[in-house]
């Protein structure tokens, strides 16, 4: 199985533990990733807040580069990136005038861009039965709170994935690994997202509620699929504990970490030893 691959800036920056995890995990499943040559930033929150045209043009350039590379399906593991790519693709598909304007802005023809996939959809493509058959170390002791955050499932008209209020796709993946996902209330609440720098208290408060709810429902870890969520819940966990006075010590895994561990990969192969909150030795 081959997919085009749009890493996005976070996965080539301080969240490169996520890329390490993705490459190790998908490699073990025999999936090849073809990185989009000379990809550029999707513009993220800054572009959609400040300049609507740029928020379409930056992702559009990447869709055109992917198309030029002959890529039919492209994994964009960061939900911010995948959301912006999907949004731009839809705007261009429904408006011929915009398509020709944007094509000249980005100096590349965008016709039929690739289908953009999130990481859960890649596991669905592998098939949960096939995934379960590949497990060599069932995660019997893992009780994860599967955390979707905002952009994997919202806005539903753009992402068209799972259920915006009560998603279950990540639970299905971790259950196929032998883990026992907990029922909890905060799986689609926001962690504070890109406010980490500009408004740190927002992150401490929102991410604090997520950790508290996961702990209250008996989770012994969180599983996330977004680099920003991971930064807020893992790197900021010590600051959150100081702010709220509560103690959680909950490891936060990327979804590819837990799949990789069930396939027999070690924490250091997956980069999970580079997280801030580490699992206690069993």
């Amino acid at each position: 199985m081959n997919f085009g691959y749009y890493p996005g800036c976070a996965l080539h920056g301080s969240s490169d533990d996520y890329e390490q995890s993705i490459r190790a995990c998908l490699g073990a499943l025999g999936i090849k990733l073809e990185e989009i040559d000379d990809w550029i930033c999707c513009g993220a929150t800054a572009a959609h807040s400040l300049n609507h045209k740029l928020a379409i043009a930056l992702p559009a350039r990447n869709l055109a580069l992917a198309q030029r590379q002959g890529c039919a399906e492209m994994l964009a593991p960061c939900p911010m990136c995948s959301g912006q790519l999907l949004r731009a693709g839809q705007a261009l598909a429904s408006d011929a005038a915009l398509r020709s304007e944007i094509s000249s802005i980005v100096e590349a023809e965008v016709n039929d861009g690739p289908r953009v996939l999130n990481i859960i959809q890649v596991f669905e493509r592998v098939g949960l039965k096939a995934l379960s058959d590949a497990v060599t170390k069932p995660l019997k002791d893992l009780k994860p709170a599967c955390y979707y955050g905002c952009l994997l499932v919202r806005p539903p008209a753009v992402v068209g994935f799972d259920d915006a209020e009560q998603p279950q796709s990540m639970e299905a993946v971790v259950a196929a690994l032998g883990a026992k996902p907990v029922d909890w209330n905060y799986k689609t609440e926001c962690c504070g997202a890109g406010m980490t720098m500009a408004s740190p208290e927002t992150v401490l408060e929102l991410s604090g509620k997520i950790l508290a709810n996961a702990a209250a429902h008996g989770a012994n870890c969180l599983v996330a699929a977004c680099p920003m969520c991971h930064v807020n819940l893992d790197m900021k966990q010590a600051a959150i504990q100081e702010y709220s006075g509560a103690r959680y010590d909950l490891p936060v895994y990327y979804l590819t970490d837990v799949v990789g561990m069930a396939l027999g990969l070690s924490a250091s192969e997956l980069g999970a030893d580079r997280h801030f909150v580490l699992a206690r030795e069993a």
Partner: protein
């Protein structure tokens, strides 16, 4: 998220419907908004409330009507775009330096300047601190895209 706001998204949208733009631009919620898209996803009338928040932020900033908290958010986002215009991909160290520098020049707050400074060592220990960020090869095309999108110098 609405629980933290001085005016929930419904009220912001109502102000816009009534044409009370100045009042809408003065609510603090447009700066507290984290673009989580919950209001857009739940609106029974299919109003893209999060998109309305984007538009109000843009207007408030252009008209100099942003509150101090709002200015910090905008300074960060402008520094982010400037960074992309220059390198094509995000350079985290450069972004943090510019954001901190600009806010410090206005606030003169040393506490702000050195907040989270301790994280650098911890990131380094985890091989997460990359002093030289990536650059795309074709930076000229990125510059031209910004120019044509009307974000050349303003970004």
């Amino acid at each position: 998220m609405a629980g933290r706001m001085d005016a929930p998204p419904t009220k912001v949208v109502r102000l816009v419907q009534l044409g009370q733009w100045d009042a809408a631009m003065r609510v603090e919620s447009i700066w507290q908004c984290v673009s989580c898209q919950t209001c857009s996803a739940r609106c029974p009338k299919l109003v893209d409330c999060a998109g309305v928040m984007d538009a109000l932020r843009q207007l408030a900033f252009e008209r100099g009507a942003a509150s101090p908290a709002g200015r910090a958010v905008m300074v960060f986002q402008r520094a982010f775009l400037e960074n992309i215009r220059r390198y094509g991909r995000l350079n985290e160290i450069d972004l943090i330096a510019r954001f901190k520098g600009e806010v410090f020049l206005k606030s003169r707050s040393l506490a702000f300047l050195f907040r989270d400074a301790g994280l650098a060592g911890q990131l380094h220990k985890r091989r997460k601190l990359h002093l030289t960020g990536e650059k795309v090869r074709d930076r000229a095309v990125v510059e031209r895209i910004f120019e044509r999108a009307g974000a050349g110098g303003a970004a």
